[in-house]
């Protein structure tokens, strides 16, 4: 009788330790998502800022300036549920404006343009990077959260179900091209 009791207690403790470890794992994944999301926000904001700066600098022709300004402004002001669309539209605007290598050259030749072009090139390269890291963390967390043990014991607590950030982040060819 006592033996059965002891074994039951041992089994319960083991289950408890395992669940606690899993909760820790999940907690760490949520922290990772938060950090990745913050990094993605920072990169998106950086990209929109550089685009807006270029649009108002007078280096581009008026039509290109307006298109780029509109898109960059919309991306910065977008509400959370409209963000993915607005950022995708900024990607499209950037591709339209900087589709030709000549346009990038023109920016580089303007005073201070070399720096601006470099910043924009870095920004359009880092956005897809940050987004991949974010979505990778989201996928790992979702895989774990779908698991029975997590659902039955509500190990995720009140944390919202993580959502991937889906957008068109294809950089303009003329900017993404590596030095040759």
């Amino acid at each position: 009788m006592t033996e059965t009791l002891i074994w039951t207690v041992v089994a319960l403790i083991l289950v408890g330790v395992y669940l606690s470890w899993t909760a820790g794992r999940l907690d760490r994944l949520h922290t990772r998502i938060d950090a990745a999301r913050a990094a993605l926000d920072a990169q998106l904001l950086r990209r929109a800022s550089v685009a807006q700066e270029l649009a108002t600098s007078g280096v581009l022709d008026p039509a290109a300036s307006i298109v780029l300004y509109e898109a960059a402004h919309a991306a910065r002001q977008a509400e959370e549920d409209h963000r993915e669309v607005a950022e995708s539209e900024l990607s499209q605007a950037l591709r339209a404006v900087f589709g030709e290598a000549e346009q990038v050259e023109a920016v580089r030749e303007a005073p201070g343009g070399e720096e601006a072009a470099g910043e924009l090139a870095a920004a359009v390269r880092r956005v897809p990077m940050a987004r991949r890291f974010h979505n990778d963390a989201v996928r790992a967390a979702r895989a774990l959260r779908r698991h029975r043990k997590v659902r039955w014991f509500r190990l995720a607590g009140h944390a919202p179900f993580p959502m991937a950030f889906e957008m068109d982040d294809e950089p303009p060819v003329a900017l993404a091209d590596r030095p040759s």
Binding site: G24, L29, A35, A39, A42, A130, F133, N135, R139, A143
Partner: protein, 385 residues
């Protein structure tokens, strides 16, 4: 930035991953970062000042060959001490799925971790069995890097998630500026790699050689790399054996000079390649390249734009293309020029900037890397002891 890099394979054994880590560490140090590399090494091996030894690696059969790996209680303790003393802003783990220091570091660390996946093995039973063990460790990695689009595809297929593609780096100018050597040029084919490793493809080249010599009898094949030379030429007719020159193991300088001198560099590898750094080195030196059409090779060679491809393991195709290349100087010059332009994207200046961009993305606002107390000491803390 304080950067910790983990090398899974023995520092004293030359290999692609080790060279990559050495070059990366030295590139980052030149840029003014503080770098510490944790690697398995024998106690007697002289190590560069930035390498910390994690003890002697044990040879074990793994993944089709004998690998020298570090595992066990002592290694885990050394990893924890290195992490604790280093207080790194970011730790960059190489090959985190191999049962060595990389996996131990994943297990023991918490904070911004970056991992590079070098190999792209087909899904193995061991991997499937190990998946539940690997997953909790791998999900700590904040940023994954794959060395090629091919490596990324296999990674996504096996482990899920995603990765950014950053190729391995090469010091392009080191190869581009090497002095060609007279006795190595003039109708020469070059091969660099382990002679006794069939996957490097020397047997395929040996099968093609009689045909090439029948057409162009002045051709010489220069082979650099260790292995049994007698055995390598055993399949050749006796009178042709003198056309093959073995150079043994060559220094980095001689490798660059060899690549600068040969008329055609041949890479007949039959598989197991996820990147092909030797092709990048050959392109850097301006050597016209003829390589097997492995996924990874085709990608490095821009789908045939920067070098010629032949059907993998097809000695006849290899021979035909080698003959036509050896006889066509204009085509060789064209390949050399296109290769030299294409290879700039693999230069450390570009690759290093991309890797630093990854570091900066994951460290943005994150705390430094610490030892994970949950991993083994955590239980006591949790039970309040």
């Amino acid at each position: 930035m304080r950067i910790g890099i983990v090398c899974p394979y023995s520092w004293d054994v030359p290999g692609g991953v080790q060279f990559h880590i050495r070059d990366l560490a030295e590139h980052l140090i030149r840029l003014g970062h503080e770098v510490s590399v944790l690697a398995p090494a024998d106690d007697e091996t002289p190590l560069p000042p930035y390498v910390v030894s994690a003890g002697r690696a044990v040879p074990v059969p793994y993944n089709g060959s004998v690998a020298r790996l570090n595992f066990g209680f002592l290694s885990a303790a050394r990893v924890r001490r290195w992490l604790h003393e280093g207080t790194f802003d970011v730790v960059h783990i190489h090959e985190p799925t191999s049962p060595s220091l990389g996996l131990l570091t994943c297990w023991a660390a918490t904070g911004p971790l970056v991992a590079t996946f070098h190999t792209s093995n087909p899904r193995s039973r061991a991997m499937i069995a190990a998946y539940p063990i690997l997953q909790p460790a791998l999900e700590k990695i904040s940023a994954r890097i794959a060395v090629s689009e091919y490596a990324r595809r296999t990674l996504v297929e096996h482990l899920g998630g995603d990765a950014v593609v950053i190729p391995n780096g090469v010091d392009v100018d080191f190869f581009a500026r090497a002095e060609p050597k007279k006795e190595w040029s003039g109708g020469t084919l070059g091969f660099i790699g382990r002679i006794d490793e069939p996957r490097k493809g020397l047997p395929v080249l040996m099968r093609a050689l009689p045909k090439i010599l029948a057409e162009r009898p002045d051709t010489r094949l220069l082979v650099a790399g260790r292995g049994d030379e007698e055995e390598a030429v055993a399949s050749l007719p006796r009178e042709m054996r003198s056309r093959v020159e073995f150079l043994g193991m060559v220094s980095d300088e001689d490798k660059a000079r060899l690549l600068r001198s040969v008329d055609v560099y041949v890479a007949p590898n039959t598989g197991g390649e996820s990147f092909g750094i030797i092709l990048v080195e050959a392109l850097s030196a301006g050597a016209p390249v003829l390589a097997s059409d492995l996924d990874a090779f085709a990608q490095v060679l821009d789908q045939g734009g920067a070098g010629e491809l032949f059907a993998n393991e097809d000695a006849d195709d290899l021979a035909a293309r080698a003959i036509s290349l050896l006889g066509d100087e204009a085509r060789r010059a064209e390949l050399s020029e296109r290769g030299s332009a294409h290879v700039r994207r693999f230069d450390w200046s570009t690759v290093g900037a991309d890797i630093l961009a990854v570091y900066e993305t994951v460290t943005d606002g994150a705390a430094s890397v610490a030892t994970d107390e949950r991993a083994n000491g955590g239980l006591r803390a949790r039970l309040g002891l």
